[in-house]
């Protein structure tokens, strides 16, 4: 199971990213633990400067905007 964190201070793009990841994971039948990180200090601790950011198993895989669906699908391939 993958642990996925969405980093963002609660803007529309962050919510969209959260939904997209959830949706793609379900469509692919991949089990994930999805979590939203809205605390600034925690976001900064990941070294992400532009939100939304996506962290999979502790590794930042995306930052700065809603990721393309193809990219999200790539994470679950």
């Amino acid at each position: 199971m993958k642990t996925i964190k969405i980093l963002g201070t609660g803007c529309a793009n962050c919510r969209n990213t959260y939904q997209l990841v959830e949706e793609v994971a379900r469509a692919k039948g991949v089990e994930i633990a999805l979590e939203k990180i809205e605390d600034l200090q925690q976001i900064m601790a990941h070294g992400v400067m532009s939100t939304p950011g996506v962290v999979i198993d502790g590794k930042v895989v995306h930052a700065g905007g809603v990721p393309a669906r193809a990219k999200v699908e790539g994470w679950f391939a």
Binding site: T9, C11, N13, M44, G47, M49, T51, A68, G74, A77
Partner: protein, 345 residues
């Protein structure tokens, strides 16, 4: 998989077709508006005909301009990431650094919700406080949507003035904040952020196909969001165009208005929050009713550049004296811009 993505060939043919269609559409704006009001059995000689003509001419024109500019910026954004901007600004001295930061603020992708992470990210990488502020002021204020809308609605002169003055405010305000040496008013945890950790996610190498896709995505995202404001703005403009007397606002916000008119406009604008598109209907209405251009642009800048919600977010990283200085310096800069404008024009 990523290799397949990067080697995809870019849809140059499609892009060329789109550009040709765009030029064709832009060239037929007046015939289009004539045609539409003809459908209603109207001519431009009546108030209603003139107002409708204005609406059906300006709406496609502004949307076309906005689409082109937003597409171009979407492509530019694939070259200028916040990380790259930060690397360019790290360790710069005040002066050159502020100019560079204000300019990069135009082309770096920026969402107001990531203003604070960006702020900390810049500082922790050794970008001076004053330079960081120049970026933070310029990025939301001098953006492509504001420029495209001003260009479409009021002509390139107004857009160019807004660009030049917005940059000037960002540069000077950043310089002043830098000179004041206010680093001690950062929250402790911000100062303690270790300089090192930048996310080491592999910045993917992308080809032109992906860049063009990014441009299209940017158009969908931005134009898809702001078009209702633009319609509202132009409808307001059209209404004024046909009906309301031109000098309705002239006595309060016009050139001969009392001296307090401009400071009042800025003071009202500072706590207000709206994006560039949202404020356009108001700008259109004020200008159409005879308000002075300097007063209106100063009002627009103060609404976009400063807002109460932003200051509340900034409070997480800055202490009150620094926030007050930031708001005061920027508001003063905008005020000077308005005064100069009203005096020159």
């Amino acid at each position: 998989m990523s290799a397949a993505v990067t080697s995809r060939s870019a849809p140059w043919g499609l892009l060329l077709l789109a550009v040709a269609a765009w030029i064709g559409a832009y060239a037929s704006l007046v015939p289009f508006a004539d045609f539409v009001i003809g459908l209603f059995g109207l001519t431009r000689t009546t108030h209603l005909g003139e107002a409708l003509h204005f609406f059906f001419y300006d709406t496609p024109k502004v949307l076309l301009l906005l689409t082109a500019v937003v597409f171009a910026m979407g492509v530019v954004h694939t070259f200028v990431t916040p990380e790259r901007t930060r690397a360019l600004l790290a360790g710069r001295r005040l002066g050159v650094g502020n100019v560079l930061a204000a300019l990069l603020g135009i082309v770096t992708p920026f969402c107001s919700c990531s203003a604070v992470p960006l702020f900390i990210g810049f500082l922790s990488a050794g970008v001076p406080l004053g330079v960081t502020f120049s970026f933070l002021i310029s990025a939301p204020m001098v953006n492509e949507v504001a420029l495209a809308l001003l260009f479409g609605l009021f002509g390139w002169q107004v857009a160019a003035l807004y660009l030049g003055l917005g940059l000037a405010v960002a540069i000077v305000a950043g310089l002043v904040i830098g000179r004041l040496g206010m680093e001690r008013y950062l929250e402790d945890w911000v100062r303690q952020m270790q300089a090192s950790q930048s996310a080491d996610y592999a910045a993917e190498r992308i080809g032109w196909a992906a860049r063009i896709e990014a441009g299209v995505g940017h158009v969908k995202q931005i134009v898809g969001k702001v078009w209702p404001y633009i319609l509202a703005g132009i409808a307001v403009g059209a209404g004024i165009h046909g009906y309301v007397p031109q000098d309705f606002m002239a006595s309060i916000m016009g050139k001969d208005a009392p001296w307090w008119s401009l400071p009042a406009a800025v003071a009202i604008g500072v706590p207000m929050y709206a994006n560039a598109a949202g404020i356009i209907p108001v700008v259109e209405a004020l200008l159409g009713k005879g308000a002075a251009l300097g007063t209106v642009l100063a009002f627009m800048m103060s609404v976009i550049a400063l807002s109460l919600p932003e200051m509340i977010i900034l409070r997480k990283v800055l202490r009150i004296p620094l926030i007050a200085t930031f708001a005061g310096v920027v508001a003063a800069g905008i005020l000077v811009v308005g005064i100069v404008f009203n005096a020159v024009l």
